[in-house]
Symmetry: C2
Subunit: 287 residues, 2 copies
């Protein structure tokens, strides 16, 4: 899996570079490129592995993989803004508003969202009706009933008097980080016109396990490995899977989710080996 | 034209209400709806008139008209943020970040951009390949080489020591407000698969005239009519068409552009009467 992940990283970075190669030079484009540096590229990995499982070649699915990473980059730039989570460190580098300005960070995020939709619309190897289905599923996943809604719930939770309960934290996670992970994982099935149920089950479990591990790393990790500020949530007395389930309970829950994610891949047999490994990696990672 | 504009307003508001009817209730959705209230709906008018001229019925083009207005609303919400133009009044109402918070304004703008692309992708009456062409043209118009680039140029100009010259101000306007106006005007031709040249010429002239009139109103208008703060640009010693050409020069230039916009519509004959009237209205309006 690590070889495949390295290969995905290289392909996606090349696709993002190409997509931004002919933009007007200036702070805006610099900030967009900067925001797209690094990252684990797990979403792109999900797209390309989902595509492969459904008979779609990397080259044909690459614009979709680049689109999810551009969208993810935009979400991080906006989430890091002072009016939002107010983070100064991301992927081991100063956040965009620290490096340039709040205005540039807002605009770079805006333009990265646009870029993501442009990449999907230009995915010429995917039949037009399926490309449109992808764009609609993407819009559903990242908008006012998906990722942005999740971020709004997160902001609201910070201002609430009572910490969230486990049901509310799961709902928040499912929107804020889960929806784009699910889109990434089902994208191959949408591209091939096949059923999305198994990949949805897989991705929901992986997405939740991913967030639980993030909460665990916020407590047990270090800034060198994670490339971002830690102890933020615990210091803010924020409801997390660790605060709600305890460290052991959270680790146990994450392990169960990994087994359930692996089981969801049964219909794909041996071919889904990389995705099974990814599910395990998600809870074993230190960054 | 005023009857048609009133009809367009009603249709577009209904389409936007419908598109936001099933979103989760909360501040985010409230702020999105609030941002979509009012406005002149000139861009939606351009879409529906362009569609009509190219044989596309209102009902078929309506999602496109709603998409450009959702996109325009997002751009206003983000432009009004404290880190950007820092405006507290828009369309006669408190701006979104004043009414709620900066975080809600950032997120509502983000989700309105997503909504715009979702509306385009769901424009079921438009053939899939043409819908994709629309989405690509839209992404080009509103992203890092279009509207967002124009806003970045505008922010940079405010921080520059020397005011912009006329060439730079035109380039800025052509990106910041011109690109979405051009998209709106050519959308009917894209939907019908016809040539976009005449509508592009028309819209470039109208877009520039619109901005010149905005600059004129910033000097000669009042807040009651315009629904926004005026004398902002002149007080900030910002280069505008009025500061560069003088009030008479700006009015003269706007009138010339209107004649050139009307001439560009010659291939459409009498059928383009509403668009000719719109060109004249753009420089006669007081708000």
């Amino acid at each position: 899996m690590q070889d495949r992940l390295a290969d995905v990283k290289a392909q996606v970075q090349a696709a993002l570079d190409e997509a931004m190669a002919h933009l007007p030079e200036g702070e805006l484009t610099d900030a967009m490129r900067y925001a797209c540096i690094g990252g684990k590229r797990l979403r792109a990995f999900l797209v390309l592995e989902s595509a492969r499982l459904h008979g779609i070649a990397d080259a044909d699915a690459l614009p979709v993989a680049a689109a999810v990473e551009a969208l993810h980059a935009y979400s991080l730039v906006h989430d890091d803004l002072p009016a939002m989570d107010d983070d100064d460190l991301r992927r081991g580098l100063p956040t965009v508003h620290v490096q340039w300005s709040e205005a540039t960070a807002i605009l770079a995020g805006d333009a990265l969202q646009t870029l993501a939709f442009g990449l999907l619309a230009g995915a010429a190897a995917i039949a037009p009706d399926r490309r449109l289905a992808l764009i609609q599923a993407f819009a559903d996943s990242v908008g006012a009933r998906g990722m942005v809604w999740g971020q709004a719930l997160d902001i609201a939770a910070e201002e609430a008097v009572e910490p969230l309960d486990i049901v509310a934290v799961k709902r928040l996670q499912s929107a804020k980080t889960g929806a784009l992970i699910v889109f990434s994982a089902v994208s191959g099935a949408i591209m091939s016109g096949e059923d999305t149920d198994a990949m949805t089950d897989y991705a929901r479990a992986v997405g939740l396990a991913f967030q639980i591990q993030d909460d665990i790393l916020d407590v047990t990790g270090n800034e060198e490995d994670t490339g971002k500020r830690i102890h933020k949530d615990s210091d803010a007395n924020k409801a997390t899977f660790v605060s709600l389930l305890g460290l052991d309970g959270a680790e146990d829950k994450a392990r169960k989710l990994v087994r359930s994610a692996e089981a969801a891949l049964d219909p794909y047999g041996e071919a889904a080996g990389n995705l099974r490994q990814l599910a395990r990696y998600v809870v074993e990672r230190a960054s």
